[in-house]
Subunit: 176 residues, 2 copies
DNA sequence: CGGAAGTTTCAGTAAAAAATGAAATTTCCG
DNA sequence: CGGAAATTTCATTTTTTACTGAAACTTCCG
């Protein structure tokens, strides 16, 4: 399958972005391709379109599947697995954030907790102790908040975001 | 300077986290070291403490300086530059988010805009067009919101976060 | 001005990450 | 069951990224 110039640009940029945020470039590109294709593709097609080894596609899809960003589908009369991604940008974002929270933020919180509870914590300077403590509190607040936000319906969330500045006034006790 | 076990653990984890989010490991480690040290350190001291080449420290500090995460200080009677980082976790977070928005989100928005305005956009499938469009809208809403949030005082922001679920009710028009 | 202390640059090297492709494995159908 | 199609695994290679250390540069002081 040949890519149009815009699709190509989008995919390349997406790959680049992925790389900057710690996602393998090919994985991000495959995701972008599925996103724009808007229809299930077979691994072969993906490999051909992106000029990437079939095995690389296999591994990348495995990763995307494990993150739930991609699902397997079957097409009538085709024995091969086909893959498609969530089309709703909001849902996608949610999945990505949830995944990273679980895989990265949770272990960090665990580490901070262990540090703070460790007996050798007493050896640390007051500054270090306070900063570790504050870091944990900060991350805790942020994750609690994020969890709550992610539990909302996209619609509600949308409203919240669009409010933005107004919330500021609300909090300060001013009139809207 | 010898690291205590906890400081070491924190620094190693921070470096690891950085790596997962697209930040050079050494850069992240230096930042963590300055964060816990809570006092200005000379580049030499950093290099020695982290067992890293002096030149590496120089380049990494340059990067941290360019991101405004680190500042240069001078100590009485010492000709060497000393470096320290923002101690306030909130301020730190703000700096990091602002930086990434500018450096990464802005170019993405630009790319999406160019795609959507390109004449060759007409060649694209309806699905692709719609998804590119929606992606842009999503990122726009999110950045606008983030900009507003980051403009708030830490205190206000803190309240907002702590509200969390209550805001949900507020939006839905229920009683608190 | 001379030179010591401090810093940065950058070419070369080392380490890490990603991609390939051949071989092994699984799946499915007659 | 036999074997073709599809898929996955993994040792090897390629590519990318990070790090080092020698050399160049800058700053500051006597």
């Amino acid at each position: 399958m040949k890519l149009t110039p815009i699709t190509e640009r989008f995919i390349l940029h997406w790959g680049e972005m992925g790389a900057r945020w710690g996602v393998n470039r090919t994985v991000a590109q495959i995701h972008a391709l599925l996103f724009l294709a808007g229809a299930p593709l077979a691994a072969d097609e993906i490999a051909e379109t992106l000029s990437v080894a079939r095995s690389n596609v296999s591994m990348s899809l495995k990763e995307l599947l494990s993150w739930r960003l991609v699902k397997v589908t079957h097409l009538m009369g085709d024995r091969r697995d086909h893959f498609e991604t969530v089309g709703d940008v909001w849902a996608l974002f949610k999945l990505i954030v949830e995944g990273r929270m679980q895989r990265e933020i949770a272990p960090t919180l665990a580490m901070l907790g262990e540090c703070l509870e460790s007996p050798s914590m007493t050896q640390e300077s007051p500054v270090a102790r306070q900063r570790i403590q504050e870091t944990r509190e900060f991350i805790q607040i942020l994750t609690t908040w994020a969890d709550e936000m992610l539990r909302q319906e996209p619609e509600t969330l949308m409203k919240l975001l669009k409010m933005g500045a107004k919330i500021h006034n609300f909090v300060r006790g001013n009139k809207p």
